[in-house]
């Protein structure tokens, strides 16, 4: 089947790729580019483990074709930390114990970043609603919400 040329900017690096259209954005990131921080959970858009930011908007990358991301700017969990410092959301997940097995964590962190960037003063209820597209089977969510609330405060003060 004919491959399509696409140009993706992922975490400041630009990739010029030739990909099969049947590859989802998730498959392109993990299998073609090799960025495996983004996870595949349900593969049907329900669990949020594959969340990445495309042109500023959080999306489930299993529900988007790689060819549809042509020319777009993508942020994955690998793009959040600077050289020697974790992003405040990552730090807060560690400090508050916002993860157990860790599989859903990249999706939660990336979804939280996209949401807090647009809503720095979000209430707990708003955060819970915004993270409704992300499922965690370990934590019971309390520590995740604490982590995001705490990170929001750090981000507001910096």
């Amino acid at each position: 089947m004919k491959k399509h040329p696409v140009s993706l900017t992922v975490n400041t690096d630009t990739y010029d790729l030739l990909i099969e259209p049947r590859k989802t954005l998730l498959a392109t990131l993990r299998d073609t580019i090799g960025l495996t921080g983004t996870k595949e959970g349900c593969s049907t858009g329900d669990c949020g483990a594959c969340t990445v930011i495309v042109d500023g908007k959080a999306v489930t990358s299993c529900m988007m074709l790689g060819v549809s991301a042509n020319g777009k700017e993508i942020t994955t969990v690998e793009g959040l930390a600077s050289r020697d410092q974790l992003h405040p959301i990552q730090q807060a997940f560690m400090d508050k114990g916002g993860y157990q097995c860790g599989f859903c964590t990249p999706g939660f962190i990336v979804a939280s970043k996209a949401f807090l960037d647009e809503n720095p003063n979000a209430t707990e209820a708003e955060i819970r609603h915004a993270l409704g597209n992300n499922i965690c089977r370990c934590t019971g969510y309390t520590k995740i919400i604490e982590a995001v609330m705490s990170a929001a405060e750090v981000m507001r003060n910096s």
Binding site: R22, T24, S43, A58, H129, G132
Partner: protein, 298 residues
Amino acid sequence: MPRIFREVITLRNFEFFEPTTIEDASNLLTQYNGKAKLLAGGTDLIIEMKARTATPEYVISLENIPGLVGIDYDEATGLRIGALTKMRTLEQDPTIRERYTALAEGAGEVGGVQIRHLATVGGNISHGSPAADTAAPLLALGAQVNIASADGERTVPIESFFLGPGQTVLETGEIVTGFECPPRGANEGSQYIKQKIREVMDLAFVGVASSAKTDNGAVSDVKIGLAAVAPTPLRATDAEAIVNGNSLTAELLEQAGTAASAQSSPISDLRCSAEHRREIVGVLTRRTLQAAADRAQG
């Protein structure tokens, strides 16, 4: 580099087209009739392709066709929404929230934020699901569906767009390009309520939208849209006739609810029994009618 990770789930092979005009997209649909699918937001199509319930040999993306995204409002001509407008945009748009409130509420009920950044209103309606969250609001808001093909354009009232589960009036080569709703004044209000189990990421087991105009205490131009309670989304016309021209009393609301229940023909499935669905139609008809009238006054 050795692959140490399992490859993620992909789709069966297909040929991918990115036409830049409706005419080209329509011609491709006709040329590959039965073997091609249109791609808008992808949140229905990609799930079906992974499940192999859809195995198109050709996928035609609409994303590169100009003019299919956006919301325009004009006091004289009303609202025009491009088919590829995202659910998240509808949910947040100030004009939709203020004047076409039920539609903002319906769009905001789809999936979760990540899904609403992908899913489009044209996809939601074209897919033909009886439970589509924008269907009941668009019915209540008197929407017309704009359809185009290589042969021309036509406009269909949304109440005659749906034919059955997954079936619409779209003919070979036809594409939904947008929606139009009549202009709305300050004395008009609307509401959509979705009955569901989980707050987000759930399907409606009943969806009801009502719209009303108020004049000296009486309601007029009432439209009620029902979703997930019949083979297609539908108008509760009997309930509309009961309240039109009258003041909303508890007794009248009760009668309207009963009439809407009677006009529904729900099935029992794993989400809900038919009996319960019929009951909820009545409750939500009363609530949304009252809210629509309150919003029209307030």
